[in-house]
Amino acid sequence: MKSFFLALIKSRAGLFGFLLVLVFVLAALFAPYLGLPSPTRSNLVARMAAPTWTGLFSPGAHPLGTDELGRDILSRIVHGSRITLAIAAASVILGGIVGTLLGIVAGYYRGVVDRVLMRVVDIQLALPLMLLALLVVAALGPSTRNLIIVLALTSWLRYARIIRGQVLALREREFILSAHAIGAGTWRIMLKHLLPNVMTPALVIATLELARIIIMDAALSFLGLGVQPPNPSWGRMLADGRVYISTAWWIVTFPGVAIVLTVLSVNLLGDWLRDYFDPKLRTMR
């Protein structure tokens, strides 16, 4: 653990990503206590106010400007990150658990189970992920729960494929053979012996998937299929601000900057984790 953090501090990119992620997570967790204006209360007097940096800490300051209803954009971005990060984290966890377990089962049992599962993966891969997400959100309706399900659905197969490959190699190793020899049951072998050994790749995939899912979540809400108003969401803010692009550039600019910074920091962290734990994963994506 200590060497892990030492290596993290030594790598500039990894550390940068880690610190930025930390800042975003803390800002999201403590958003209500940061003294920001309400993200949903409109103020028609201050409609589309340009960003101002004078008197930054006075109550009426809008460092990133206001939107078409006079709502503070900084506050909407910070509050939007709560929902975005919560949805992204939930779908990464859901997709990760399902994908990892299916990968272990396929790699351990091989044979018919494996072939059926890999066929399902192939079928799903024949559809662009965005199209699949669109279809399913449209069918289920845009709610937070459905969004999580859909995003997890676009994610599980990456874990399943890579973990399966790892398990295929692991199951021939001596410690698994000896577990068999002392009479360990199938479930015990899968959960106690195989699972701990694939946790590292699963964690690496999860970090990189988090970045991809944040972008896809923003794209879905950009198309109007994400979190429904009045809850602020980054993609929705971009879609709404597009109408005012010729008069208020800040409405469409800052939510995008927030997405880029978040995804960039998660990617930097993910890349570093991958290179630290298992550089072989690089070409497996």
Partner: protein
């Protein structure tokens, strides 16, 4: 080789069947299109008549078998909204999508390959740093936001290019550029890491040791092998782009396949959804088959297997 190809074709057919099946059942959950088609305040009887004329009053399994049989014949039925064959509606948007995808793939691959090669060959220099930062930023930027920013700069502020639509070369520049950035960022990063992996191989050292020209070593020993994962990546991206990037087509009001499908989903036009998704899946699968065949050219070991 032919057995390998037959196996691949079998897998492809299975995948298309799976996609058609999924889309059939998912689109039936979307809602009742008959309600959308009748004027407000129509009687239940009118709705029933329309449902019967669309074949929607039949048991779901019967509808499924009927649609599967007609799919085999390439017939996806009439669009509920436009009363024309659904496949025609999708196919006539294909040239626009192909134009945009082709532009982005061509420029994106070239830029990405050059940048990736520079980053790998100039290890530890400023050039590598710039390329890697640019590629990281490119990968972290959602395409739709990049598109909006380009519109903001080149259409709203400078007034050089149209904000959206299609028809002239000027219309192609912004969406093409947006997608090229996305394509080249992924390719540059992958090519760099794959080049660096290959450069460490023993056979590369051998090739250098026996006195081959650095250029020969690079193109015949390193690049050829490093391209294998890149080809896979280009295949995946090509599939995604040819499937119509729904989001970028929405941003630039580009009249492509993705937007047609999006509109069909909103108006619950089942036949058009099915035709569109089946077409995209077919393109995806054909592209992947081509990639598999390309492997054989790049890596003779795969051909023999």
């Amino acid at each position: 080789m032919s057995r390998y190809l037959l196996g691949k074709l079998g897998e492809s057919a299975l995948a298309i069947w799976g996609v058609v099946t999924i889309v059939f059942f998912v689109s039936r959950v979307l809602g009742d299109p008959a309600v959308l088609l009748v004027p407000v305040g129509a009687s239940q009887q009118d709705i029933d008549t329309i449902r019967a004329s669309l074949g929607l009053d039949r048991p779901i399994l019967e509808q499924y078998v009927v649609s599967l049989v007609s799919t085999l014949r390439g017939d996806f039925g009439m669009s509920f909204q436009q009363g024309r064959p659904a496949m025609d509606i999708v196919l006539e948007r294909m040239p626009d999508t192909a134009l945009l995808a082709g532009t982005a793939l061509l420029f994106g691959s070239i830029i990405g390959a050059v940048c990736g090669a520079i980053a790998a060959l100039k290890r530890g220099t400023v050039s590598e740093f710039i390329v890697m930062v640019a590629a990281l930023l490119g990968q972290a930027t959602p395409v739709f936001w990049l598109g909006i920013m380009l519109i903001l700069i080149f259409s709203v502020d400078l007034g050089w290019l149209p904000t959206g639509g299609a028809g002239t070369w000027a219309h192609l520049i912004l969406p093409g550029l947006t997608l090229s950035v996305f394509v080249s960022a992924s390719i540059a990063r992958l090519l760099r890491s794959s080049l660096l992996d290959i450069m460490r191989e023993d056979y590369v050292r051998t090739a250098r040791a026996k006195g081959l020209l650095p250029r020969t070593v690079f193109f015949w020993h390193i690049a050829r092998n490093a391209l294998i994962p890149v080809v896979t990546m280009i295949g995946i991206i090509a599939g995604e782009l040819l499937g119509g990037s729904v989001v970028i087509e929405t941003v630039f009001a580009w009249p492509g396949v993705g937007r047609v499908i999006m509109q069909a989903i909103q108006s619950q036009d089942f036949p058009v959804i099915q035709a569109g998704v089946a077409l995209i899946a077919a393109i995806f699968i054909v592209v992947n088959l081509l990639v598999d065949l390309l492997y054989g050219v790049l890596d003779p070991r795969i051909r023999r297997r």
